[in-house]
């Protein structure tokens, strides 16, 4: 491949690629993103290839490995073009049927279509599925169409035309102005106006300048950066090159978490291909602008996602944050002006350049433009990635798109923004979601994780979970965060283990105040959000734990006992055989009961029982075993 040296050549290449492709040629696309791979999609690709070979169709039908469309719960996902039929939960044994029916005869395999659990209706196209109906997919739209390892797929759908426009029809100042006008705010969760950040770096004294992609999404429960990077790495790269040109940087870095191996691999391939096509390196598209990108992998530290810590890690040192008296935009990597943006922020740039700031501003709310990708996970029926305009209400997100709570249970709270965010209770479900509204509630947007919890989640236990998570991840550089988290963790663990005392809550509030004010970086400063929102909205649960030693959600192990209801027990021996501690006493035709001394409270019996005979008790005495210790015979 000869490097492309003018915008006209790029257009010519695009036409050539499209001419080579017949739009009517059947094409089977399979998701090979982490979520579907975990459910066996690699075997599926092999099965399709083998089946086509068997039927002698290898030349007539294409098999494409693509990115993720977000509905991981229903994976592995397969799409058949040109009809664009979506099949879900496909297994290798379904492959022959798909090829002979759908590909060859244009017939639909009913059982593989998405079926609405409530109405029982099947959906042939994506828009008929409730999960997709309310979405507006700007960043995720192309994931099902392109092979991320093939630059020509991206060029075919109009890729790199934004770059050509930016390099040849706009000045750097015009680009920054356009980004400022679009009101794009940092998609990593802070919500800082991107255009202003770019301008700061551009005007900062000092050369060279750097641009950095943050794909160190350590937030537990969020995975949209991975999905964008895995499914469409060129969109991130294109945004980065445009940004580098606007800011005046000639060297860029992509920092990817070690836990996202496919993302690191795909962006590395994308960089190599872009260099080969003359879209990276020296004299890009013949414009005279040169720019190089390197990939750096993280090594497993949550705090490395903080901008100054990430830059320290790229320098090859331990990724600890530094005090930011001067913004990293002015003094960052190797003390030079460095512009760091989240993966999704960079991927949005080509769209703004192509369609204009006005178009982007018309999506979303006044204060927060555009769309946001949320990872809707936890106890909802439809879990996956959802891209919606900003300003959608939490209720619509959880009930219309997410399909409500699993197993018909009651909604309790939704946690947004990872460990820096907070819990939002039912009374605020009609809040429109954008940067400012969530901050008002004591939570934050964060990277868009939305973890839905039902009545089985204990809010004290969840607060403890986040504090323990952060205690594990705190770098230990500053005292308020290191010692504050340790003290908090001790108190919270005591409360959950039934050793809570009066005054514990006040102690936590005191600690929180210091941590909020005095921690070095955002990890410590926002660490108290989950605890404070849990206290604010669910204080009664805390008090129950401390005063009555009771956990109403029945989640805190130390405060519950498992008990078998002799009325419901059918003496089926299932739990008796599987109990790892041998605590279930009884036998064939003999009602079982649990020896509380032996019970390790692992929950195996609770999960296994098909009759609902195993129950959790909290804060109440355990009824004695039936008839003392002598098991009774079940009446037939």
């Amino acid at each position: 491949m000869k490097p492309i040296r003018s915008p006209e050549d790029l257009e010519r290449l695009r036409k050539e690629i499209l001419a080579k492709r017949e739009p009517s040629k059947p094409c089977i696309t399979v998701c090979v993103s982490t979520g579907c791979v975990a459910q066996g999609s690699i075997k599926l690709v092999e099965a399709f290839k083998a089946e086509l070979e068997k039927q002698g169709l290898t030349d007539r039908v294409e098999v494409k490995e693509t990115g993720c469309v977000g509905f991981c719960e229903q994976g592995p996902r397969v799409t058949i073009y040109p009809q664009e039929i979506y099949y879900f939960k496909v297994k290798p044994e379904d492959v022959p049927e798909i090829v002979s029916k759908t590909v060859l005869k244009n017939e639909i395999v009913e059982r593989l279509l998405y079926k609405d659990p409530i109405t029982g209706k099947t959906a042939q196209i994506l828009e008929e599925i409730p999960f997709y109906k309310y979405q507006l997919r700007l960043l995720l739209e192309n994931n099902a169409k392109i092979n991320p390892k093939n630059i020509e797929d991206y060029i075919a759908i109009g890729g790199y035309s934004a770059l050509a426009k930016a390099l040849f029809k706009m000045t750097p100042e015009q680009i920054i102005e356009e980004v400022k006008k679009s009101n794009l705010r940092g998609r990593g969760g802070g919500g800082f106006p991107t255009g202003i950040k770019w301008e700061t770096t551009r005007n900062a004294p000092g050369e060279p300048k750097y641009v950095i992609v943050n794909c160190d999404q350590g937030d537990p429960g969020a995975f949209m950066d991975r999905t964008v990077m895995e499914g469409n790495p060129h969109s991130v790269l294109e945004g980065l090159i445009i940004g580098a040109y606007a800011i005046g940087a000639h060297r860029g870095f992509v920092y990817v978490r070690e836990e996202y191996p496919i993302a690191a691999e795909n962006i590395s391939i994308a960089i190599e291909q872009a260099e080969e096509y003359g879209l990276l390196g020296g004299n890009i598209l013949g414009s005279g602008f040169s720019f190089n990108v390197e990939v750096y992998r993280g090594a497993g530290a949550f705090v490395s996602g903080e901008s100054s810590a990430l830059m320290t890690a790229i320098e090859g040192k331990v990724g600890e944050p530094r005090p930011k008296y001067i913004h990293t935009a002015v003094k960052g990597l190797w003390d030079k002006p460095s512009c760091l943006n989240n993966t999704k922020t960079w991927a949005t740039i080509p769209l703004i350049i192509l369609k204009g700031a006005e178009w982007f501003r018309n999506i979303g709310t006044k204060g927060s433009s555009g769309t946001m990708i949320f990872s809707l996970v936890g106890k909802v029926n439809n879990t996956g990635l959802v891209e919606v305009p900003m300003g959608i209400t939490l209720r619509d997100l959880i009930f219309k798109i997410g399909g409500g709570i699993r197993g018909g249970k009651k909604f309790k709270a939704v946690q947004t923004g990872g460990p820096s965010g907070g819990f939002i209770p039912e009374q605020y479900l009609d809040t429109p979601v954008d940067f400012d509204e969530l901050t008002k509630l004591g939570s934050m947007m964060g990277s868009g994780g939305m973890i839905v919890m039902d009545e089985d989640a204990c809010m004290v236990d969840m607060a403890r979970y986040f504090i323990d998570f952060l205690l594990d991840e705190s770098c230990g550089k500053c005292v308020p965060c290191r010692e504050g988290l340790r003290a908090m963790s001790k108190i919270l663990n005591d409360i959950c283990e039934g050793k809570g005392k009066d005054g514990d809550i006040e102690k936590i509030e005191d600690l929180a105040e210091v941590m909020k004010e005095a921690s070095l970086c955002a990890l410590g400063r926002t660490a108290v959000n989950p605890v404070l929102t849990s206290l604010k909205y669910f204080r009664n649960e805390w008090e129950e734990h401390i005063k009555e030693k009771k956990c109403q959600a029945k989640a805190c192990k130390a405060l519950i006992n498992y008990y078998i209801d002799p009325e419901k027990c059918q003496a089926c021996m299932l739990c008796l055989r599987e109990c790892p501690a041998g605590a279930v006493i009884g036998g064939k035709d003999q009602v079982h009961w649990i020896d509380q001394k032996k019970c390790v409270k692992c929950g195996t019996c609770y999960e296994l029982c098909r009759f609902g005979a195993v129950v959790k008790l909290t804060g109440e005495p355990i009824p004695p075993p039936p008839m003392g210790v002598k098991p009774i015979r079940k009446k037939k």
Binding site: T34, V37, F469
Partner: protein, 174 residues
């Protein structure tokens, strides 16, 4: 008698020869990795990641050699190796289990899953079973939250797990 001593000496020389061969091989491997990263000091973490991937842990000799090659202190190398979760300074088992403890997995029962694994294997997270078969570790989010709870063994994913699945999965490995 003399012949016996002679045979013993030969045996010892052979053993030492083997050990030296291994050392030389290890240094060559590390050299190749350092060269791949152009001996760039800012790529230290990347180099350590590659060594970790090759051996499953960071052998001391490799670290000393990296310190020599890049001219960085052992203290800096150790500070990195102990700060990040991806690195291990002791050999790991034949199979590494990573249990995801992200929020979504937590809400859907990951702690119980981990307890179950600990009971079956008889080890705590971070430890290796005495027979050297499994190393148990936790990870704070693997980013496949939609199919939680999740664990991986040697990079192979298992999702939508139930407590009773663990035994069956472990039985697949030897």
């Amino acid at each position: 008698m003399e012949a016996l001593r002679y045979a013993e000496a030969i045996k010892q020389i052979r053993q030492r020869g083997q050990a030296i061969k291994l050392i030389v091989q290890e240094l060559r491997d590390v050299d190749a990795i350092v060269d791949k990263h152009k001996s760039d000091r800012s790529r230290l973490i990347q180099i350590l990641l590659d060594v970790q991937k090759k051996y499953g842990w960071l052998p001391k000799l490799a670290l000393i050699w990296i310190s020599e090659r890049l001219n960085v202190s052992m203290a800096q190398i150790y500070s990195i190796a102990t700060f990040y979760k991806a690195f291990s300074l002791i050999p790991r088992g034949r199979h590494t289990i990573r249990v995801c403890m992200g929020t979504s997995c937590k809400v859907r029962g990951a702690p119980e899953l981990l307890n179950n694994l600990q009971r079956i294997l008889g080890i705590e997270p971070g430890q290796t079973t005495p027979d050297g078969k499994f190393t148990l570790t936790t990870v704070n989010c693997l980013g496949c939250c939609a199919i939680s709870p999740v664990l991986t063994i040697d990079g192979e994913y298992y999702g939508h797990l139930k407590l009773t699945d663990v035994k069956k999965i472990l039985a697949k490995y030897n």
